[in-house]
Assembly symmetry: C2
Homo-oligomer: 355 residues x 2
């Protein structure tokens, strides 16, 4: 560069190593259950917050206090629309946090609720949602004990965003986490998949299907605790929210460093979900659920666990869908014709704003 | 009514007794520290969630587990802009939750962080905010152990909304709550008031004052724990966020059913805050702070408590500003001229979106 050069117009180097450099800013896919969300977590959130609890990559953080172990979790909900077949943002927020506690093997102690209201939200809608939250908490034998309300200007929200956090008491001495998954473990799925994502999408976009589809939104803590109370050796649990079944399995396979093989015919997909996915070009394996989970148990206990799950209305459609085969980190799907394909993590959630 | 009557066009009665009937929808003031926020809480939130923990009207919910007592709290942050003199939304969110725990006499155990990102937020801004959250947590000896990220469409957020929740271990056997306040208690204020609200407002609106004003945003747990560790009998603590000093005192007087008298000359107001308030027609007593609190202690311990507070940089400006005089429920301010006026709770926060 000489004195005659004009001032450089090149953009300054970013002060930090940024993920998704070609974006440089938040895109919708950062909120999905896919690769961009993981990248955001791994390159921005985890380096900043660096600690062993967060690094466990579990639905809840777990700590011991005296003789007891506690779980702590949080989620914000931005589902659009606020009311959908089978639930509303309030029920979703309470069940979602109850489920994150359950996936750590925890019985819920207490919940919090923080509301970001948009100016103009009808108070009657707010009341319905609050009652729905209270009912879901009551049904789970817990309470919403602390909270907060903020209001943002008209246009700066979508009616209502809800955050719930929860504290639970862990109901087992065993470690339930991706790190506890072992080769040979059976993978059990608690029911059919795809209902929540497709029900919300259909309602939002005004799509009509032959069969009415409702979200599977439900509190799974009772179903999970029944497995633990029966003394089953549960290695890992995960609810199938953003990223769907594939996203959850991918995350566990990756964290545990193990290969998981699935048998596609064992995975139930409701006819209406299958139809909608065909029309829309979506794969049910990646669609979010709000009342389904997978459990990893030793193969020898798979039948007993299945029987227990099926005795519960929320596990009536439970199935043994695959097994952990050994070191690796991939998820592979065997079709009915014996063809095996490796599942990939998509860049983002195929359906935005479903939770 | 006869068969000839036209169909009634009167609006149907709302299905529920709604607060602010003349609104019927959320207004900005519902998010302030004033009457409308209280009405929303008392007529919608508390009836729906009805439980003794929430009814305690404390900054944190408190429960016993074995020999120990825990505190649990949450807050969402929607401050505008995201960066302001003296802090940013991340520091604010972490300190705010640390302070809510501290006001229950709790040492922080763990924090959660849930982010609602708006599409288009520069990742460099997000990184700065995450680092600011991590730094504030680290300085308090705690960690952000669990979290969540959602993304909303461009225009449906304000860059970033942050929720933090926290769990703490209570550091005293005594009850610290409005219900523990006694006639004769001294009211101590930890420093001057109005910095946070005016600093954010000035920055947002591009107002320039002669003196640069910074937010007082700070973690007060160390300051509070020093009082408890010294064995002082602390009856109640409250940080002076939305609603300011007046809002906090009003809430405590009302919950405890006791009258509180304040000596106005004892309440320090920075020159820049006083000037801004005069120009803008605001009362510093109602302006939000993020690093100030009040403590209720027996009159006989007031001097010792003051000395301890003043030994801490965050309590350097501490003062004895009033006392609890007996049954009632009002807050009364004695001016320098001996005139006494009853403070009222405004309908909403005079400055929206400051936290």
């Amino acid at each position: 560069m000489t004195a005659q050069d004009p001032p450089s117009t090149a953009p300054p180097e970013p002060a930090c190593p940024l993920p998704s450099r070609h974006y440089g800013q938040v895109v919708m896919a950062h909120g999905g259950g896919g690769r961009l969300a993981r990248e955001l977590l791994e390159t921005l959130v985890q380096p900043a917050f660096a600690n062993p609890y967060l690094a466990a990559r579990h639905d809840s953080a777990v700590w011991a206090q005296g003789e007891q172990r506690f779980a702590f979790t949080t989620d914000s909900y931005v589902v659009k629309p606020l009311f959908f077949p089978g639930g509303d943002i309030g029920k979703l927020a309470v069940c979602g946090t109850l489920n994150d506690l359950a996936m750590a093997g925890a019985r819920p102690l207490f919940l919090s609720a923080a509301l970001i209201l948009e100016e103009g939200l009808p108070l009657a809608d707010l009341q319905k949602i609050l009652e729905s939250m209270a009912q879901a908490a009551r049904a789970a034998g817990t309470w919403i004990v602390t909270g907060d309300t903020k209001v943002v200007d008209r246009g700066k929200g979508d009616g209502l965003y809800v955050n719930t956090a929860g504290v639970g008491l862990i109901a087992t001495a065993a470690t339930i986490a991706p790190s506890a998954v072992r080769p040979g473990d059976a993978v059990l799925l608690s029911g059919d998949i795809g209902r929540h994502g497709i029900a919300v999408l259909a309602h939002r976009e005004g799509l009509a299907f032959e069969t009415a589809l409702e979200s599977d939104c439900a509190d799974l803590s009772g179903t999970v605790l029944a497995l633990l109370e029966a003394g089953l050796e549960v290695h890992c649990l995960r609810d199938l929210t953003r990223g769907g079944l594939a996203g959850a399995l991918f995350e566990i396979a990756h964290t545990a460093g193990l290969d998981i093989h699935l048998q596609e015919p064992a995975i139930a997909v409701p006819e209406a979900v299958r139809g909608a996915c065909e029309i829309l070009g979506l794969d049910p394996l990646y669609i979010a659920n709000e009342g389904r989970f997978i459990a990893f148990v030793p193969a020898a206990q798979a039948d007993r666990a299945l029987a227990l799950l099926r005795a519960d209305p929320l596990g009536a459609g439970a199935a043994h869908i695959g097994q952990v085969v050994g070191p690796g980190g991939t998820v592979q799907l065997e079709t009915a014709f014996g063809v095996r394909r490796v599942l990939d993590l998509p860049s983002g959630e195929p359906l935005p704003r479903i939770c």
